[in-house]
Symmetry: C2
């Protein structure tokens, strides 16, 4: 086996496979590194661990700020650990470099889960394009699977492109919502309707239970008019409370039910295969996008070309030819 | 000005600008040609005509087979011609090469419009990937604008990716639906909800009027729960009859109203600019995709790599590296 000069890939792989959390954390750091030798080593590591990946339930979770994503993941993760699962929590947040923080950065927001031995929480890789951030989270997910985690929850900020990226690396995509405040029902973003495998309405506790149920009924009414993504899965709308934990087991039962259905129908394998191939093409695109950004002179020319195209001075086809010539 | 050896670009451009329909048709044929010298000439032509483009209302129209797309375009186009517009009808149908025909291929389905002097109907370019087909239709649209057509209707088959492509080259995206048949209401495809600027229900005539109105009310109910794409435009749901022409003027009035709103808010210019830039990147991607397909040996290797990635034998990142190395 080929190894890097200074990094013993095989030894790291063994330690990750043994479930060593410190080794897993360091391996993910290797993946996130921008150093060229680290990137080479990271790719070898992922390739080496690949046969030991793929067995987890991969669940994407989205929701607007304030919906209670962290407390939901804390409650759900706690329930899963209690019922014998090993849970990894990852995130895709390309804004984290700018905002200085990251979703999941503050482990105190996942008070119970961060204490559990059977849980592993990792904030979003901070740097880079959405494509880059998503790629690193994907590979972190593979490492978590190789380390024996059988549930991977991937949190995302409620921004269109991030949601698509997370949906594209998971088996089940869960959208969290809040009970509507009377007249002004909180809208579902259009893009989300296409992605969600389930909608769950948080804060169904105390005085809010009735309101949450009404909201759920309204969403159900709105959703039944839409053709489902899968012919065999009608997107359910549930209510739950991250605070009390009510509805969390039912929520997970739906994820398990979905898995059974799509596995029997063959959709599961198909979705995973397609995700892998799309991922490859996305990474290839990312490669030449990086190449264009790496050279400051080319970067300036690309920006000028974009401006001219946006203003309608150069036809896009001609501009594409120009940029292609700089890539050679 | 640079000209190709055998093609007098400037002369073609002049004839297109004068509104010569035969010249316009030949110019589009030049754009659709796969010959390298034709492609060079086509790019010069588009660049030369670029300053004279952009003034049309660009309207995308989608709907499932049987919804009456052709008769709707016939009725709408006829109404527009009657009210003084010059109307070009184009299409994006990447399946047309396979099916042997093309939407719009049969002009008899647009009986009145195909007879009108102020109308120009062109079937979908038949060959190539969706990206290629869409690129050619886009450039055909620019030529039509340069030829003085002030409304361009772009028809698409009701398939996800084609709809996205057409939405991305138009200012307004219209989804056609049928009245529901009692209990089993015809579903709106999820992806469509994200794209549509208006939903119009055809066949609101005779016995179907009541049913069409009921269907419209149901769609309105479902849509009001969704966050609109634009903060200033709530997606309207109308009924009309392509057969009798009832509702066609109201349908067009909505398109005009939308244009006014987004033009005043600045959204219109923003959407057009963003479309141009995205188009450039899409074409650049298309370039290296073509490069990968051009060499049979590389094509075989790419296919084998895709299979290995789909089966989980090679990590996508490693596969992307391999393919990138073949591109250099």
């Amino acid at each position: 086996m080929k190894t890097s000069k200074t990094i013993n890939i095989a030894a790291i792989a063994d330690r990750v496979r043994s479930g060593d959390r410190a080794a897993l954390a360091r391996a993910i750091t290797l993946i996130e590194s921008r150093r060229a030798d680290h990137q080479v080593a990271a790719r070898e590591l992922v390739q080496l661990l690949l046969p030991h990946t793929g067995q987890a339930m991969r669940v994407g979770i989205t929701g607007s700020p304030g919906v209670g994503k962290s407390t939901t993941i804390d409650a759900l993760g706690h329930y899963l650990v209690e019922t014998g699962h090993k849970v990894a929590v990852l995130a895709v947040d390309p804004t984290s470099a700018r905002s200085g923080g990251s979703i999941l950065g503050d482990k105190t927001r996942m008070a119970r889960l961060s204490m559990a031995d059977a849980a592993f929480i990792r904030p979003s890789p901070a740097a880079g394009t959405l494509g880059g951030v998503a790629a690193k989270t994907r590979e972190a997910m593979l490492l978590c699977e190789a380390a024996g985690f059988d549930v991977v929850l991937v949190e995302t900020v409620g921004i269109g492109q991030s949601e698509t990226a997370v949906c594209d690396m998971t088996d089940f995509f869960l959208a969290l919502m809040l009970p509507g405040g009377g007249d002004e029902l909180q809208g579902i973003k259009k893009g989300l309707v296409e992605l969600a495998d389930m909608i769950a309405i948080n804060k169904a506790d105390g005085d809010y239970i009735k309101r949450a149920n009404l909201t759920a009924a309204e969403y159900r009414g709105a959703l039944h008019i839409l053709t489902p993504r899968s012919t065999e899965w009608q997107v359910p709308v549930l209510t739950y409370s991250a605070m009390t934990g009510n509805g969390i087991p039912e929520l997970w039962a739906k994820v398990v039910e979905h898995r059974g259905i799509v596995q029997r129908s063959g959709e599961f394998d198909k979705r995973r295969s397609e995700q892998q191939v799309r991922w490859m093409w996305t990474m290839l695109e990312d490669r030449w996008q990086s190449k264009l950004r790496a050279d400051p002179a080319i970067r300036t020319k690309v920006r000028a070309t974009e401006t001219a195209v946006a203003a309608g001075r150069i036809a896009p086809s001609l501009a594409a030819d120009q940029i292609a010539s700089w890539l050679v």
